[in-house]
């Protein structure tokens, strides 16, 4: 699954280059080169952040239909399968927020939840479907909130790392 996720990271970057490299042969050559380099060099994965692309993809309809402004700044990284991470973030009462979480591992099961400084859940709406999840909130006060992200994958070995990307929008 990890290879699948990483191979997909490569594929997305290759797709990015298709506008410039229309020839399928040169594309295949590029793809193969990227795949090999990618497998050997983990730093490339930070550059090709498909988890974030997926998170932005989830956000897109909210931007178009609901006029949410999505922030350019975001969070991403890797996480051992089945584990959680906590993110602190300042929010303002009076705004409405959505946080969207994605992973490039299609079989991953991701969740995102939000808590106030006393650990009370404050999300008013959530969804979680495979490698995509979201939580909406109307902050009861202007303060720092805690966002818990969890990325699991039934097919991943214990300790295997999965990627994740979290973006947010407000209105």
């Amino acid at each position: 699954m990890k290879t699948e996720g990483r191979a997909r990271l490569m594929t997305s970057k290759i797709t990015f280059f298709t506008d410039r490299f229309r020839s399928s042969r040169s594309l295949r050559t590029w793809g193969a080169s990227f795949l090999i380099v990618g497998i050997l060099n983990s730093t490339v994965f930070a550059f090709l952040n498909e988890a974030l692309s997926i998170a932005f993809e989830i956000a897109a309809p909210y931007v178009e239909k609901d006029k949410f402004a999505v922030r350019e700044d975001n969070w991403s990284g890797e996480i051992p399968a089945g584990e959680s991470k906590l993110i602190r973030h300042q929010l303002f009462r009076g705004n409405e927020y959505w946080f969207w979480l994605g992973s490039s591992f299609e079989n991953a099961k991701v969740t995102v939840e939000i808590f106030d400084s006393e650990g009370n859940p404050v999300g008013v709406e959530t969804f979680a479907e495979k490698n995509k999840a979201g939580v909406r909130l109307l902050p009861p006060k202007t303060a720092v909130y805690f966002i818990r992200i969890t990325v699991a994958d039934a097919n991943s070995a214990k300790g295997e790392t999965l990627d994740w990307g979290l973006v947010y929008g407000y209105r």
Binding site: E72, D73, K85, G119, G123, T126, F146
Partner: protein, 308 residues
Amino acid sequence: MNLVELRRYCYHSSPLQLKSQIQHFIAIAVSGAGLCSAVAQGPKPPEKLDLAAFPGEIVEKVVVPVPAEVFAVLDKLDEPNWTQEIQIPEESRLETKDRVKLSLGFGSLVAEGFIAVQAQDVAEIKTIGEQALKLGNSLGLGDAVQAHSLSIVDGAEREDWRRVRAELDRTQATVRETMTKLRDDDLGTLVSLGGWIRGTSALTSLISDNFNQDKSELLNQPSLVEHFIKSIDSMDPLNLKHEDVVQIRTGLVALLVLIQKEDENDAGISAEDVAAMGDICREILELFYFENDEKANEDGGQGATDDE
């Protein structure tokens, strides 16, 4: 369809039509119930989280809110006079080779852009877009900034305010990322800091114009101030000793004291404290962005004496 509509719908129908219509209604009702149960089967609401005993890692990265995020709330609470808040410094004020000042100035200028967008002032946004490009060039990041600058100007001409806001956010993010790639993390922090100070300065001014507790609550950002102080403390010694950085740190500590008084008293940030916060932000901005009024007066006075 409610029951009244259903009755009206059935009233004009033949028995056969009626049967078919009732079946149709039942099908809609069943599918509706199915949809409701599917929604109800969503993720279970989480239980209370013991933050002190959280077993996982806490992500260190702090995302600093853009001024537009706070301004959006202010717009819901009042009708602020955004136009009066636009204070673009003279180009010469931002001309320097000091990269610390340039970074702080760049961040502040982007925040100025967010104010001008709230005011929907096309001319001022265009000026800001052009100045941002010049500052970007001075920082050696002209290539990274150019596309954003053009898009800001184009968005303003089309009065596409959402696009201009998004582009301003992108500009700041691009500059920070580029600085990180160039291993200039400190300067990236200063860009964020300059933007936050300018945004907070405008916020204090607008809150003071027509004070209420709902508005002053927006200044309750102690963890962001702590984050900036911590970031300064971990800077390269050369940057840490920079006169502006030293003074900014002192100013941030003073801001933190004022904000934390709210937590202690649980009474919210008072009008006096909002004004005091505004003064601190102004003093900080006079180091690298605004004209220093007192200094200008002193210089002017000195000049007059010399002339005499």
